[in-house]
C-alpha cells in the first residue's frame, strides 16, 4: 500500500477509535475493566475483523496487510486500548492457517476472530514440562474418533475453555518425537475433568485436566497423525513472540508505571531520587526495556528488508521475562513493608496490585519454555555451539 493510502488508513483508524473506544477502557489491558464497556468494545473490534487483522475476511479477519496491521496496533496502544487476544488468536489460529485443512479453517477460525470460542493449550503434563516430547497422554483410534486417556497440567483457562488443542501420543512404539499428534476436541464432554490449581499469587487460572475416555473426531487432527511435533513447535514459536495481552500468564497493564511508583514511594530530593542505589537500578531497568523494544524493532526491520538477521525469538522471550520480573523486584524494593500486604487496610490498591504482580510474573520465566530452555536454544540454534 502506498504511503498516502497508509496515512489515510491511519486517519480512519483514529476516527474509528475515537467513536468506539469509551474513556473508561483507555487504561490498557487491566484485569478489572468494566464489563459493559468491554463487551461493546469487543463487539466493535470483532465486527471490523480487527482482533485478527491480518487474517482473510472469509475467516473473520480484517484482511489488512502487515503495514496496516502495524498501524492499527500502534494506534490502539497509543490510546491504551485493551488489546483483545487469546490462545485462539495468537497461537492456534496462526497454526491452523498454516497446517489446517480448509474444513478446519472454516470450522474454527471465524469463531476465534469473533472472540466467541475459548481455547486452552493442552501441552504440559506432570512428567513432561521442558521435556515436552516425553508426554504420555494416549489417544487410540476407534472408528472415526480418537479416545483419549491421560493428564495435562498447568492448563491456563481450562475451567473456562470450550475447546482444547492438545498433544497426544498416538504411537507409543515410535521414538518420542515421532509418535505425537496435535488434535482438537471440546472440553464440555464426559471424560474431561478439570481441577483448578491455586498459584502463589492467589489466582486460580490454571488447572489439572484429566482425560478418561474423552473423544475427538479424527478429522480434527491438525497436520499428519504422528506428525504433531512439527505443528506443536510451530505453535510454540507463535507463543514466544506474543507480547502483552495473551492469556499465557502475562500481567496486564498496571495502574502506575514503575518510575512513578518508585518516585512516589522513595521521594525526590532536589529533583533526584532519594535512594541512589535504587536510582541506578531504575535507570538500568529503563535501559533494559529500551534495549528489548529496540531489538525487537530491529529484528522486524531485518525481516522486512530481507537482511539476514539472527533468530531472536528465544532471546526476546527470556529477556522479556527477566525484565518484567525485575520491574516488580524494583517496585517491591521501593515499597518496603508496604509491599508485603495481601488484604485488609493500610495498603493502596497500587501497592497490592504490584505485590500480586511480583508473584504472578515469577511464571514468565517458566511458561512457554523456561529461561534455561530458551538459553539452550540460543546456544544451539543461534550461536551454533555443538552439543
Amino acid at each position: 500500500m502506498s504511503s498516502e493510502n497508509l496515512e489515510e488508513f491511519q486517519q480512519d483508524v483514529r476516527s474509528w477509535i475515537d467513536e468506539n473506544l469509551p474513556a473508561d477502557l483507555r487504561v490498557g489491558n487491566r484485569k478489572d475493566l468494566p464489563g459493559g464497556s468491554l463487551g461493546k468494545w469487543i463487539k466493535a473490534v470483532t465486527s471490523k475483523g480487527w482482533v485478527t487483522p491480518q487474517w482473510p475476511t472469509e475467516y473473520g479477519g480484517g484482511n489488512l496487510d502487515r503495514k496496516q496491521a502495524a498501524i492499527l496496533m500502534k494506534e490502539l496502544k497509543a490510546v491504551r486500548a485493551p488489546i483483545i487476544s487469546s490462545f485462539g488468536t495468537s497461537m492456534l489460529g496462526p497454526t491452523l492457517l498454516e497446517f489446517g485443512t480448509d474444513e478446519q479453517k472454516e470450522e474454527f477460525l471465524p469463531a476465534i476472530s469473533r472472540h466467541e470460542v475459548k481455547w486452552c493449550q493442552g501441552y504440559s503434563e506432570p512428567g513432561a514440562g521442558s521435556d515436552l516430547a516425553s508426554l504420555q497422554t494416549r489417544a487410540v483410534k476407534e472408528g472415526d474418533e480418537y479416545v483419549i486417556t491421560g493428564q495435562k497440567i498447568w492448563t491456563t483457562g481450562a475451567d473456562k475453555a470450550d475447546w482444547i488443542f492438545c498433544l497426544v501420543r498416538t504411537d507409543p512404539e515410535a521414538p518420542k518425537h515421532e509418535g505425537i499428534t496435535f488434535i482438537l476436541f471440546p472440553m464440555h464432554q464426559e471424560g474431561v475433568e478439570v481441577s483448578p490449581l491455586t498459584l502463589i499469587d492467589g489466582s486460580a487460572e490454571f488447572s489439572q485436566v484429566f482425560f478418561n475416555g474423552a473423544r475427538a473426531k479424527a478429522s480434527h487432527v491438525v497436520g499428519p497423525v504422528n506428525g504433531g511435533w512439527t505443528v506443536a513447535k510451530r505453535l510454540l514459536q507463535h507463543e514466544r513472540t506474543t507480547d502483552g495481552g495473551s492469556e499465557g500468564g502475562i500481567t496486564g497493564a498496571l495502574k502506575e508505571t514503575l518510575t512513578d511508583i518508585v518516585k512516589r514511594e522513595i521521594g525526590l530530593k532536589d529533583g533526584v531520587l532519594a535512594d541512589p542505589t535504587l536510582r541506578q537500578r531504575l535507570a538500568a531497568q529503563e535501559l533494559e526495556a529500551r534495549g528489548l523494544s529496540l531489538t525487537m524493532r530491529r529484528a522486524g526491520e531485518e525481516l522486512r528488508s530481507g537482511q539476514a538477521g539472527r533468530d531472536i525469538g528465544s532471546l526476546g522471550k527470556y529477556r522479556w521475562a527477566n525484565m518484567v520480573k525485575n520491574e516488580q523486584d524494583l517496585a517491591m524494593a521501593a515499597m518496603g513493608t508496604q509491599g508485603l500486604g495481601w488484604s485488609g487496610p493500610g495498603f493502596e490498591d497500587t501497592q497490592l496490585e504490584r505485590t500480586r504482580a511480583w508473584l504472578t510474573t515469577r511464571a514468565d520465566s517458566i511458561w512457554g519454555g523456561t529461561n534455561e530452555v530458551q538459553m539452550n536454544v540460543i546456544a544451539k540454534r543461534v550461536l551454533k555451539i555443538p552439543e
Partner: protein, 379 residues
C-alpha cells in the same frame, strides 16, 4: 534512520572491514606498543583514511568533509574496534574536531578542519584533572588579558596529547570548581610557550598525556562557543563522542565474543569440546543478548543525533552505560573462557580485554552515565 544498515552503509562496512583486516590486523597494534613507537599509531594509515573520506564524515563539505552522520562514522569505528586500531579517532575526530565543529567560528573552522579531514592535523581535548570522570570539576583557569587569555593549570589523560597540533583546552573563566557555569573552551596551539607535555602509555597501548599550562597566551578569537558557557559545547561534544566511542566498543566486544565462541567450539577438555558444558553455553547465550541489546541502543543513539532528535543526551548516556557494562562482561568472560591461555600477553584476547577497560572508563563509566540518564529522565 532505521535500526538496520542501509544498502550504502552495508557497502561502507564491507569496505571498512577489508581495509582494516588487510592493513591493520591486531598484530600491528601490538608492534606499535612493543616498539614504543613515538607516535603510537600510523600517520600514514591515518592519512589513507583521510583520503577515503572517513575522517571527514562528520564535517561539512565546505571544509572538506563528507557531511554524513554517526551511522556512517559508527561503521568505521566499529571496524576499527574489531582490530583495535589505535588511530586517533577519539581524540581528533570525536573530541577535538567535534569541539571545533560545534563551537568554532567560521574562520576557525576553515582554518583547522580541512587539514583535520585529510589527516594532516591532529587535535586533542584537554579537560580532565582527576581520575574519575567529572567534567565540570575544573580548576585550570584562564584570565582575560587584553585581546587574549592566559591559561594556567594541569590536565591529565589528554588522549594523543603528545602528538596533537592543537589542544582544545577547558579552563575556568568564572565560578568555582565543580560549577557547570564559568567554563570556557580554547583552541591552543600545542607549541605555545608555557606548555609542557608528558606522554604516558596506557594499559591498552594507547597514549594519553599530562599537560601543564603556565600562563599560556591564547587569542580571544580562539574561544569555542561563548566564554563562561563552554559547558554547553562540552556537553554536546561529549554526547557525540560517547556515541562514537560506543560504536568502537561494540566492534571490539563483538570481536572478543566471536573469538571466544570460536574457542568454545575448538578447545577440548574432558574429552569433549568445552562448548558442550552448559555452564558455558548459558553464559554465551547471555553475552549474545547483551551484545544485541547494545547494538540496538547504539544504533538508536546514532539516529537520535543524525535525525536531530531532542533526546540525544539521554540516548548517548544510555548507549555509553550499556556498552560499558557489556565491555566489562564480555571482556571478563573472554579471558575466563580462554582459561590460562587468556592470561598470556601472547594471546590477543587480553589486548581486547584491556582496550575494553580503557574505553569503559573513558568519558564516564556505566555508573556515571546511568546517573546522568536518571537525571535527564527526571528522577
Amino acid at each position: 534512520m532505521g535500526l538496520i544498515l542501509t544498502e550504502d552503509q552495508t557497502i561502507l562496512r564491507e569496505m571498512a572491514k577489508s581495509f582494516f583486516e588487510e592493513k591493520s590486523p591486531v598484530e600491528r597494534m601490538r608492534k606499535l606498543r612493543d616498539s614504543r613507537d613515538e607516535t603510537g599509531f600510523s600517520r600514514a594509515l591515518w592519512k589513507e583514511m583521510g583520503e577515503l573520506g572517513w575522517l571527514g564524515i562528520l564535517f561539512p563539505e565546505a571544509v572538506g568533509g563528507a557531511e554524513m552522520g554517526y551511522g556512517e562514522l559508527g561503521i568505521i569505528l566499529s571496524e576499527a574496534g574489531r582490530v583495535l586500531a589505535p588511530e586517533p579517532f577519539v581524540s581528533t575526530v570525536l573530541l577535538g574536531g567535534n569541539a571545533i565543529l560545534l563551537g568554532g567560528t567560521e574562520p576557525l573552522q576553515k582554518e583547522l578542519l580541512p587539514d583535520l579531514c585529510t589527516g594532516d592535523r591532529l587535535v586533542s581535548l584537554a579537560f580532565q584533572e582527576q581520575g574519575r570522570f567529572s567534567p565540570y570539576s575544573i580548576e585550570a583557569s584562564a584570565s582575560r588579558d587584553g585581546d587574549s587569555y592566559r591559561i594556567s593549570g594541569r590536565k591529565s589523560f589528554v588522549l594523543d596529547g603528545h602528538v596533537s597540533d592543537q589542544i582544545v583546552t577547558l579552563a575556568r573563566t568564572a565560578g568555582s570548581a565543580d560549577e557547570r557555569e564559568g567554563l570556557s573552551l580554547f583552541v591552543v596551539d600545542a607549541n605555545s610557550p608555557g606548555i609542557t607535555i608528558e606522554r604516558a602509555e596506557m594499559l591498552d597501548g594507547r597514549n594519553a598525556a599530562s599537560i601543564s599550562f603556565a600562563n599560556v597566551a591564547v587569542d580571544a578569537s580562539r574561544v569555542l562557543g561563548e566564554p563562561d558557557h563552554g559547558a554547553d559545547i562540552l556537553d554536546a561534544v561529549f554526547d557525540r563522542a560517547i556515541v562514537g566511542l560506543s560504536a568502537e566498543m561494540l566492534g571490539s566486544f563483538e570481536e572478543a565474543f566471536e573469538r571466544t565462541l570460536e574457542y568454545l567450539k575448538t578447545r577440548e577438555q574432558f574429552g569433549v569440546k568445552i562448548g558442550t558444558f552448559q555452564g558455558l553455553r548459558h553464559r554465551a547465550a547471555h553475552m549474545f543478548g547483551e551484545l544485541e541489546f547494545a547494538r540496538s541502543i547504539v544504533r538508536d543513539a546514532q539516529s537520535a543525533i543524525d535525525d536531530g532528535r531532542d533526546d540525544i543526551a539521554e540516548c548517548a548516556s544510555g548507549a555509553k552505560a550499556r556498552c560499558s557494562d557489556v565491555a566489562q562482561l564480555i571482556g571478563g568472560e573472554a579471558i575466563q573462557m580462554h582459561g590460562g591461555i587468556g592470561m598470556t600477553d601472547e594471546e590477543e584476547i587480553g589486548l581486547f580485554f584491556k582496550r575494553l577497560k580503557a574505553a569503559e572508563i573513558t568519558l564516564g563509566d556505566a555508573i556515571y552515565h546511568r546517573d546522568r540518564f536518571a537525571s535527564l529522565r527526571g528522577y
